[in-house]
Amino acid sequence: MKSMRVLLVVFGILAIFGLMIPSGAMAVREIKIGVIYPLTGGAAAAGRELRAGAELAAKIANNAMSGIDMTMAGNAGIKSLGSAKIKLIFKDHQGNPTLGADLAKKLILDDKVVGILGCYHSSVTKTVSAVCEQYGVPMINGSSTSPALTKRGFKWFWRTTPHDKWFTKDLFEFLKGLTEGKVRGVKAVPKKEIINLASACENTEWGSHVSTLIKEFAKEYGFKARKSLLYSAKSIDLSSEVRSLKAARPDVMLFASYTSDAILMVTTLKAQEVHPKIIWGQDSGFEKPEFRSTLGDNIIGILTRSVFLPQVVQLKKVAREVNALYKAKTGNDLGGASARAFTGLQAWVYILEKSGSTKPADIQRTANSIYIPGKELVVPWKGIKFSTTGEELGQNVLGSGLIGQYQKQKDGKVGLEIVYPFDVSSANMIFPFPAY
């Protein structure tokens, strides 16, 4: 009987202590984040990069890693949430907006995720973010560049990457810098020598939007858009387009093209002996490996906007450190897709750490006030800070793009060198555009 009493007291004491210990410390919790990317289909190659980038960021956040100059690498998990680990649940949207929306619903209702990261294609991001808005679940987008996404007044959507409007503005800042002698290796070029612009953009939503932006910025910066044409990316011949551009006698030629048409465009420019002083492409086709391998030395001197170039790794210590881990994991260097997916998840980690809660309202409040300095990021931005007023809600206002120029590099291969922003340029610019 006595032993029975002792046992009861012991249980009682244990029970009281048990109640006093905070629940967070009792077991390490998991924080589920749904990640929706195109893992199969036409954009599967990009999907693989995106996935690897997000996975690496989660690994760094979940384990204390020395030798990486990043706050999240010092903590093993989310410190303010009892060192809870980030768990990524990947879903494949196959580039299909309807499927993306269904997957988002499943993640929210079945997997009970804290939030969503994705989705690469702007069209899929559009439907997925609408589902998140409906359920009041936070979503961070790291790699979709349609300006319309942050113009919808959504309260549960934040975008870390700069978008096409910013990239196009970068181009005009670059042209302005060229006239002011700010470009490395080029003396100030009189504006009248590069004043006439002609653009050819593919005629879907993306290209036609870039075309409109070019016209708007040309006016704002005092350039003359002599010809702005739209063409079908699925055109089997672009010679009439190229002759139309040539007839406008432009100094600067601007393009927004996908892969096959970018290759056909440059081939046709060469065949028609068109020699403007500057050729610039809005990323996409102009940055694809196929563009480089097909056209070889013909593209030396061509400019393209970009979000991440291998040179960033040389210039930024933290990028170098993360790149070494990424290369060990995948065998490849960080690229535009992987670096931005990494940064998207990194934003998630910092927001969760600062809010110390997984409640949507707390996350929303923290996201709207967070500031992540540029030195924490692998991408060459000033930092991450989301806009909370004005026409662009949830857009990171500290992001920026790069402009690269194809040049012959030390190893004899043709690669991109940074020419803009001017303070991180990695080589002298080739100006004017040389013969093909």
Partner: protein
């Protein structure tokens, strides 16, 4: 004036290339009255054949044409004996849906083997070269070769159809298969031959196209659309009609060039703002639509 002349030259040149890639479609229809929806996929296979043969052997892409012709010919024969022959027993709609199925099958087969990425030829005697003929006329060497071969092939096919025994047998089969059979013509073999020649002409065109156009498994549909417009315009089954319709369509795709000519000659600034290049193919399909309305058998169609 330079703009006008160069637009006409470019229109005729691309027209010959377009006619070339439409020829297979008209041959098969002419003999068997089957619309081959998989025509673009034959072109795609020709493009892959040219590309892979050139890459594997290191020879110039132009020299891969015989290989492409052989692949196309065999593919046509296999398609006929393995598939089309059975479809012929069914109604017209079964034939239409059947070749549509063949299109999907070949496209997905290519996707399985070659993946979804774009591939292109990097080197070749003619790749990236052009001739400056003066007066603003600059013609790319690859297109000149394609156009030249187009003329030669059209002549050869025309001679085959009109001046040879095989051609007469093909024509007889197309006019009245039963009657031809009574006369001792092996109509089954003639049908297979039509598929073989049609397939070979498509793959040759494909192997030429790959000199200036990158290939992926979905590329066929781009060419099928325009080939249909050309063949319908020229008259289904008419070989010379297809050639002339190709030239007409080539010139129509140059409408933006003619537009520019007026814009810059008369300095009409408002014209520069009209998005003519965006509407380039609209004129082609509009012409096709009008021809279908007023002359359903096409410009040179002889079958009723």
């Amino acid at each position: 004036m330079d703009i006008l002349i160069s637009s006409i030259a470019a229109g005729l040149l691309i027209g010959m290339v377009l006619a070339f890639m439409s020829m297979g479609l008209t041959i098969i229809f002419g003999v068997m009255e089957i619309v081959n929806f998989a025509h673009g996929e034959f072109l795609m296979i020709g493009m892959y054949t040219g590309l892979l043969t050139a890459q594997a052997t290191g020879i110039d892409p132009l020299l891969t044409l015989p290989v492409a012709a052989l692949v196309g010919f065999l593919l046509g024969i296999i398609c006929y004996y393995g598939f089309i022959k059975f479809l012929m027993r069914g109604p017209m709609v079964a034939q239409l849906l059947g070749t549509f199925g063949l299109m999907l099958f070949l496209r997905n087969l290519a996707l399985l083997f070659f993946g979804p990425d774009d591939r292109a030829i990097h080197h070749g005697i003619l790749v990236g070269k052009s001739f400056n003929l003066g007066m603003g006329v600059i013609v790319p060497a690859t297109k000149v070769a394609a156009a030249g071969l187009s003329v030669v092939t059209f002549l050869a096919v025309w001679l085959l159809m009109n001046r040879s025994k095989i051609g007469k047998a093909l024509t007889a089969t197309s006019l009245n298969a039963q009657g031809a059979r009574y006369m001792g013509i092996p109509t089954e073999w003639m049908n297979a031959l039509a598929w073989g020649i049609g397939g070979a002409s498509a793959t040759i065109a494909g192997a030429l196209l790959v000199n200036f156009w990158s290939v992926n498994p979905f590329v066929g549909i781009l060419f099928t659309m325009i080939a249909f417009a050309i063949v319908a315009l020229g008259g289904f089954g008419s070989v010379p009609g297809t050639f002339l319709a190709g030239l007409v369509v080539g010139l129509i795709t140059e409408v933006p060039g003619f537009w520019d000519f007026f814009t810059y000659t008369f300095n009409w600034n408002w014209m520069a703002d009209v998005p003519m290049t965006s509407l380039k193919y609209m004129w082609v399909y509009l012409t096709y639509f009008i021809i279908m309305m007023v002359r359903p058998r096409g410009l040179f169609g002889w079958k009723r």
